[in-house]
């Protein structure tokens, strides 16, 4: 049976720029003023009372002084207003937006809108209804809405989209239109290339780097010391959108050029800033988080040598942290240690590192002849073998080495040069508690790992790692001994994890097999370590440190999510890999790999990052 159907009008779909701009859209010149005014209004609204009762944490009842979430709204409003003013070319503010202001305004308006509305909804929900809102809250809601409407009305170059083929099925047309909308939406955030930076004297540049590091410390300390869930979520919203806005404005790029020019100053400055963290704390509550973040991030950085530089997918890396921790615990003088030896700490940490290195070589030697997926599977297996072996070396299933599932407990506190790490000290009027003491010790280990990472990445062996990662066959043809090069990466990574493990054993008092799993709700574990590297940025130093900090802080702060934590974590990873596969901090070469078609930089300035 054949039916001939004549379609009446089949015109070739011509590319047309959409002229409709939707509802709630203002003319361009008004839009800019509206956005800026919205930002200013948002700032004012933060000083008003939002609710009548102090039952909502943060005390938002005061006129004339912001509190809790209002500070975040204030910051995002200020960002919006500043970017808005900068877009007018006001002298003294243009430096804020070297890549053009409009995308930054858009993102800042999202920051203000999302933070304010999140706060208001959180107040209404937790106090039971909008009746609990004071007029200030409505001012904030409207102010941020005004800012957002203004920002979204800013003109931008819309891409020429092809309309959907009318002969396609409905779903195909729907998909096509959706992708058109997405391209249009994305083009609203397209930035210009940065204006050339004015040459500054060296000391000013160093000053800027110092200010940026101090700001980083403030933001980080704020995030770590948030006292309730709402504030932390608000912090994530503001920080996320705010960071994106600053990045779109081109400021991050500016700072990166400066830090690249003054690398040693930046390194020292960053560690001074990190060392200042315990002094901002009045008690040990958040220093605990701080030291755990350092441990996690440092181990992630060690893993970055293996994964990021040498390109070896290691899914059992946490085992090396465990080996270091167990080795150090066994010689720590713990009453439950079957060895009963008490070595001084510098020997214990060397024992931990050496034990990890030996295990690294033992595991690496047979497995590193494998490539790619096979290596991943084998390392995954070895990671589990470590845990189960430790579990079984309890005196009943095997020789008594590790006390089985009880682990090695009551690890005594360290004492170095007469400095007791277990006691609280007062330095210059500041109280430094137990965890803060360990924070300083761990910071030293982090510094060692950072220096080792940097030195090795730029050395001959670092170039060999990258060559192996890129093309193992070609690397061999260049005279690079593939197996030995990979084994060095593996052993070095293991050694660094062992260093961190030795400190970790003392920080946590107890080491048990359960701390060293492949996947677990609490970091560090192999999956989270790998995620920290990938999320932060492979092959970079700051990437795993930032990724590790985020991955530790988020589950730690959002305890109410604990049931959905792995779900949310997986979802976040999928989204990140879809939209920013190179991680938060991009290595120039990785960026080239993932964005070959579009925004890839055509020239590389320096090997690696």
């Amino acid at each position: 049976m054949t039916t001939t159907q004549t379609t009446t009008t089949v015109t070739a779909p011509a590319p047309t720029a959409p002229t409709t701009r939707g509802p709630l859209t203002l003319p361009p010149h008004i839009a800019r003023a509206t956005a800026t005014a919205g930002g200013a209004l948002t700032i004012i609204s933060a000083f008003l009372a939002w609710t009548w009762t102090s039952a909502f944490p943060g005390d938002l009842t005061v006129y004339g002084y912001p509190g809790g979430l209002q500070w975040l709204v204030l910051v995002s409003g200020a960002l919006l207003a500043l970017f808005g003013l900068s877009s007018y070319g006001i002298k003294g503010l243009t430096w804020l937006t070297p890549q053009g202001a409009d995308p930054a305004i858009r993102l800042a308006s999202y920051a203000a809108l999302a933070t304010a509305w999140f706060s208001i909804i959180a107040i209404s929900v937790s106090l039971g209804g909008v009746v609990n809102l004071e007029p200030g809250a409505y001012v904030a809601a409207i102010a941020t809405l005004i800012g957002w409407i203004g920002a979204r009305s800013l003109p931008y170059e819309r891409p020429e989209n092809h309309p959907a083929d009318p002969e396609d099925s409905g779903f195909e047309q729907f998909k096509h239109n959706l992708s058109n909308r997405w391209t249009t939406y994305k083009s609203a955030f397209a930035t210009n290339s940065a204006r050339p930076a004015k040459p500054l004297p060296s000391y000013i540049e160093i000053l800027i780097v110092a200010v940026v590091l101090a700001l980083g410390l403030v933001v980080f300390t704020y995030g770590i010391s948030t006292e309730y869930d709402e504030l932390f979520i608000g912090f994530l919203i503001t920080a996320g959108f705010g960071f994106a806005a600053i990045q779109k404005a081109g400021l991050i790029q500016r700072v990166t050029t400066l830090t690249a020019r003054h690398r040693n100053v930046t390194l020292v400055g960053a560690f001074v800033a990190a060392a200042a963290f315990p002094f901002t704390q009045s008690d040990d509550q958040y220093a605990t988080i701080g030291v755990n973040i350092l441990i996690f991030a440092t181990v992630a950085l060690g893993l970055n040598i293996v994964v990021g530089l040498a390109g070896l997918l290691d899914l059992g890396y946490v085992a090396f942290l465990g080996v270091g921790a167990y080795a150090a615990a066994l010689v720590s003088g713990s009453p439950t240690s079957p060895l009963g030896i008490h070595l001084p700490f510098w020997q214990a940490i060397l024992v931990g590192a050496a034990a990890s290195m030996v295990f690294g070589v033992l595991i690496g030697a047979p497995t590193l002849r494998l490539r790619g997926d096979y290596l991943a599977i084998v390392t995954l297996g070895f990671g589990e073998i470590f845990r189960i072996a430790v579990l079984n070396l309890d005196g009943t299933s095997g020789p008594d080495v590790t006390n089985g599932s009880n682990g090695i407990s009551s690890i005594p506190n360290l004492s170095l040069f007469g400095f007791d790490f277990g006691a609280t000290h007062t330095i210059g009027g500041f109280t430094i508690g137990r965890f803060a003491n360990y924070f300083f010790l761990m910071l030293l280990v982090t510094l060692i790992v950072v220096v080792v990472f940097r030195r090795s990445a730029e050395s001959r062996i670092g170039r060999a790692w990258v060559a192996i990662r890129e093309d193992e066959t070609a690397a061999e043809a260049m005279g690079i001994n593939g197996f030995r090069t990979k084994l060095i990466a593996f052993a070095l990574g293991a050694t660094l994890a062992g260093l961190a493990g030795a400190v970790q054993a003392h920080v946590t008092y107890t080491v048990t097999p359960e701390q060293y799993q492949f996947a677990h709700a609490v970091p560090p574990n192999s999956a989270f370590l790998l995620a920290a590297v990938v999320l932060g940025g492979m092959g970079t130093i700051s990437g795993p440190l930032i990724g590790g900090a985020l991955l530790f802080l988020i589950p730690n702060k959002l305890q109410f999510m604990s049931d959905f934590q792995l779900l949310a974590f997986g979802l976040a990873l999928v989204l990140l890999m879809r939209f920013r596969p190179e991680g938060l901090i991009a290595n120039r070469r990785q960026q080239l790999e993932f964005h070959e078609k579009d925004e890839a930089p055509a020239t590389l300035t320096k090997a690696g990052a």
């Binding site: 066959t473 005279g479 055509a602």
Partner: protein, 238 residues
């Protein structure tokens, strides 16, 4: 005078399938020797065996008076044998200059390395113009130039080129062949594997025709270029 490279009764197999079935040839210092033949003749396998990427079943490989049979791939380079592999195998995400520097991985003389990088840029000016560019963004011909330049960075006594003209436009191919001629003039010894028999034969001192793992015909480049059976089989003439 002893030959720089002497291959005797070389047999190589992938599992049970013998790809090279006992071939012998030699390369003297300063000459260009070419192996031509169709797909699957065993040319690439021969080169990969010489550079240590595959272990031979039997046979002797003597390079510069030393046996290569037990030498692993990464040490072959240090003996002076450079391999520019089939399919180029450049490091696509590295800059051109970093690629060249990796070619000199085993060398320690940074002055000499810089000089040789400059020499590569003189040989291939396009590489010099784009030295900071990611090499994956180069065209196929430019990538081939980079692969050759990189192989030269190890200051090899013998340069092995595997199908340098593969997938290139005729103009690009002429450029590559001109470069090989230039390298020969400079005294570089080259073992060239090619499917483009016309081009390879016209610049080779000696040539060997391979067919399913055997050398079936040998002679000077000019001899084979005028050999009737070669003309029929490889140069597309009746």
């Amino acid at each position: 005078m002893t030959a720089l490279l002497e291959v005797e009764d070389l047999r190589v197999a992938y599992g049970k399938i013998e790809a090279v079935k006992g071939i012998s040839f030699k390369v003297d210092e300063g000459e260009v020797v070419t192996l031509i033949g169709t797909n699957g003749a065993g040319k690439t396998t021969t080169l990969r065996t010489l550079s240590g990427l595959i272990k031979p079943l039997t046979g002797q490989i003597k390079f510069n008076g030393k046996s290569l049979r037990k030498v692993p791939a990464h040490q072959v380079v240090s003996l002076g044998l450079a391999h520019s592999p089939e399919g180029r195998h450049i490091f696509p995400r590295m800059s051109i200059e970093d690629n060249l520097r990796l070619g000199a991985f085993l060398r320690k003389d940074s002055d000499g390395i810089n000089k040789d990088i400059q020499r590569a840029y003189d040989l291939f000016p396009i590489l010099g113009e784009r030295r900071k560019q990611a090499s994956g963004t180069l065209s196929g011909g430019e990538q081939q130039m980079l692969a050759m330049g990189r192989a030269l960075m190890s200051q090899p006594k013998l340069l092995m080129l595997d199908e340098p003209s593969m997938g290139l436009s005729p103009i690009m191919m002429q450029k590559i062949m001109a470069t090989i001629t230039e390298l020969r003039a400079q005294g570089t010894t080259i073992l060239l594997v090619e499917q483009n028999a016309q081009a390879a034969l016209s610049l080779a001192n000696h040539a060997h025709v391979m067919e399913v793992g055997n050398i079936v015909l040998s002679g000077t480049g000019q001899d084979l270029l005028h050999d009737d059976s070669v003309r029929k089989a490889y140069l597309g003439e009746d």
